[in-house]
Symmetry: C2
Subunit: 467 residues, 2 copies
């Protein structure tokens, strides 16, 4: 029985986000869109928080204009984005009217598929977005942020998926942002999801520890419908399995994707050439590293902590911090470690170590977390810690956004004449400072992308055959 | 049922051969040997034709001395070498007395496991070496050079493996030098070999097209006993799957290798640091590239041909050459493409294209090949071509070395006083010019390793978490 696996290529979003600090410019995307559009990908992931941020902050491109250009250049392929639930593309919970407006405008400008996640896996935080996607007539994908803990069982993930299915999701994605999945655990999870749900399942797993291709193979054998890959030039390490490899691996089997390897190879050559232009953003931290399989600390979090400790002249205490992280995470009820929870846990762990006593100082974010302002933790938080942090203030157990009054009108008024469109208002809503600066510079005609360092020409060597 | 997979780490031989032109020096191996020896690898591959060549040619190290130093530094781990059958570590067929002496001396200096292959898969060319290994009381491993063609069926490989088993081999290796294997084809091949043979099976597959980790997983599920991996710092691309990844992938399963990920991670950090020292040998041609899955031309062969054509100002004809290669290979009875057959086929294909008529000029190597001097081709060669190339000269159908008289005494006499040991005579036997120069420089006290370019310090960047 033939059961072709469907491919989402993430080179235009997660590929360059994972490997060159999200710096790929629209001018390096458009020339290859014609070929990308011919491949027959189920979708191309093209938009998300980091790409939006990098456009406004570094590239001085209007992210909405990028989306419209990609839409025009890719008429035959679904365009996909990653949305942080009630956080949208920003770093706080927005009122529902902003969520609804943002989704509507994203759909209108070209997004077909919305992958919606919440860092806590609190499904209440994705519900408004998912309903808005359905209202726009687009594909709503509910997301399981994968992590490991005593409460993150296969059954718990199945329950979460069912809750999102009940909200009207068209599909479910597993988002393994840290590369924690192992091949046989993946197989089990997919098997259970396929048995209990009647929805297509997508697998998004980072190759951080080199396991993602293996996880995908076991997922496929257990019935996964879709996998996320990146064209080889922006694949592997902290990015994703290479598109060509997975296509070649499945060729001639019942899972054959049917995609053309020669066409993919041409696309890879474009992106290999393009990648050289961004050499200043290459980093050793993006290479394959098994550490996350040893201590469950995501690679990006490890390098951020190392930088933080270095600045404080305390790099020698990094092992203590790594040992403290699982403890803080347990105290907070085992949140998945992804933006913003990775920062919340990491910063508190550093403080616990450097202060010489645990929770001598408690960050504002930990306090807000313990008050319920990020949503419901996966497991019970430590009661004593909560009392200490929160004191007599209120702990909420409603959806955080239930406490937020409508705010779109105020945002519209605040940005005023600088906004030439509803999209501009939303840019400002996502990034109040950066967004405003961007709109001001645009008005003044002073938008200037950051400068790229010149490419040095490096010569290749011939290799021997065999051995 | 627990069935732990055994690991051979190839970092000290194939890892650096595949990625930095075989330049790793003994001084960068010894400091990490203590840790390598603690891991519990089934074996470490440490020696072969290219490492021997690079020692004598570039590093001005005595390869025998390297072997003795590694032996002393790795008292608890089997040391493994790759041997080109009757070619030993050189580029011609040697008389049996040289083969016997070389194997005996390699065993005496520290080799425990001999992986013996023949580029044609002609088992007559491995028999003397295998018998010599058994005579030394060491582990003899017979090798299947993997390739694809109408005659390279699973059944044919099983037959070859049985023939080598009958010679007394202790195990069988599949050597996929080009990265041609696909996961499900690997599974089938392993299944058949395990069903028909009562010997341990080893899988050596290059990650050239990114499929090797997937091939290993399917091999393991079908009963393979041993896999070859390289510590991550010298893994992936034209090298092998990363040791840590495969160990992590199998952890907690019935195939658990039992190896310690933290210890492996420490070893990886050593080699990442060491690799910087050799940055001048890094090459774009070693990266993952799916081309071999499209046109069956090994990566190293493609880059060699590109260089060859460039020198002749004919790089624009490379696609014609790629199209000609399978035709020449068919005419020659489908030899696997590995040193020296890759050069024989490649050079003739270039001539066929540039001369404007096929076989207008025939190389001496093709002529010798067609006369039977490399052994028996896997399939019948083209009769007309053979007549044209060979003319009235004799075609042999015996084992090529049957025609070679004993030659060790002559070699010993030729090199004379320059050889201070039987090992020196064998160095000279392997590389008549280079070996002699090496011995002369040693006598004159003028051995000087090639100069390494200074390391530039490149700064890493912090990465974001998730997305
Ligand atoms: Co090899
Ligand atoms: Co991602």
């Amino acid at each position: 029985m033939s059961k072709p696996v469907q491919i989402t290529d993430v080179v235009l979003r997660d590929g360059h986000q994972s490997l060159i600090a999200t710096r790929l410019r629209t001018e390096d995307m458009l020339p290859i869109c014609d070929k990308l559009d011919q491949v027959g990908f189920w979708s191309l992931e093209v938009w998300g928080g980091a790409t939006f941020d990098a456009c406004v902050r570094f590239l001085k491109e209007d992210p909405w204009e990028r989306l419209r250009q990609l839409r025009a250049a890719l008429p035959n392929t679904r365009l996909q984005m990653l949305l942080r639930g009630q956080n949208l593309l920003g770093y706080r919970h927005y009122a529902d009217d902003v969520v609804e407006a943002f989704v509507a405008k994203s759909a209108e400008n070209g997004i077909d598929v919305f992958r919606v996640f919440d860092a806590m896996n609190d499904v209440r935080n994705v519900e408004t977005a998912i309903k808005a996607v359905k209202k726009s007539g687009k594909h709503a994908q509910g997301t399981l942020c994968y992590t490991t803990s005593p409460v993150h069982t296969v059954e718990a993930f199945v329950e979460q998926a069912k809750a999102m299915a009940a909200m009207g999701c068209d599909s479910i994605a597993i988002k393994d942002m840290a590369g924690l999945l192992t091949p046989y655990a993946t197989g089990e999870l997919i098997k259970a999801l396929k048995a209990e749900l009647d929805l297509p399942i997508f697998l998004h797993s980072h190759s951080t520890s080199g396991l993602a291709p293996l996880c995908q193979l076991k997922a496929i054998e257990n019935g996964v419908d879709h996998i996320d890959t990146a064209i080889s030039a922006f694949a592997s390490g902290t990015s994703h399995p290479a598109t060509e490899s997975m296509v070649a691996a499945l060729k001639g089997t019942e899972y054959d994707t049917g995609l053309d390897l020669e066409l993919l190879n041409e696309i890879a050559r474009h992106f290999w050439a393009v990648r050289k232009k961004y050499h200043q953003f290459e980093s050793e931290f993006t290479r394959e590293d098994v550490s996350v399989q040893i201590n469950q600390v995501p690679g990006g979090m490890m390098s951020n902590l190392a930088n933080q400790l270095k600045e404080q002249g305390a790099l020698n205490r990094i092992d203590e911090v790594f040992a403290e992280i699982p403890k803080v995470r347990k105290d907070l009820g085992y949140p998945p470690l992804v933006t913003p929870t990775s920062q919340i846990v990491g910063t508190q762990a550093v403080m616990n170590v450097l202060a010489g006593a645990r929770y001598k100082t408690i960050t504002n974010e930990v306090k807000r977390y313990l008050m319920g302002h990020y949503g419901k933790a996966p497991a019970a938080v430590d009661d004593e810690l909560r009392r200490k942090a929160v004191g007599s203030e209120d702990v909420i157990d409603v959806r955080p956004a239930d406490l937020l009054p409508a705010e779109l009108d105020k945002l519209r008024t605040d940005i005023g004449e600088l906004a030439k469109s509803e999209e501009d208002v939303l840019t400002y809503a996502m990034f109040p400072d950066l967004g405003k600066t961007f709109l001001e510079q645009r008005a003044a005609g002073t938008l200037e992308p950051e400068v790229l360092l010149p490419i040095e020409q490096a010569g290749g060597q011939a290799a021997a055959v065999g051995g």
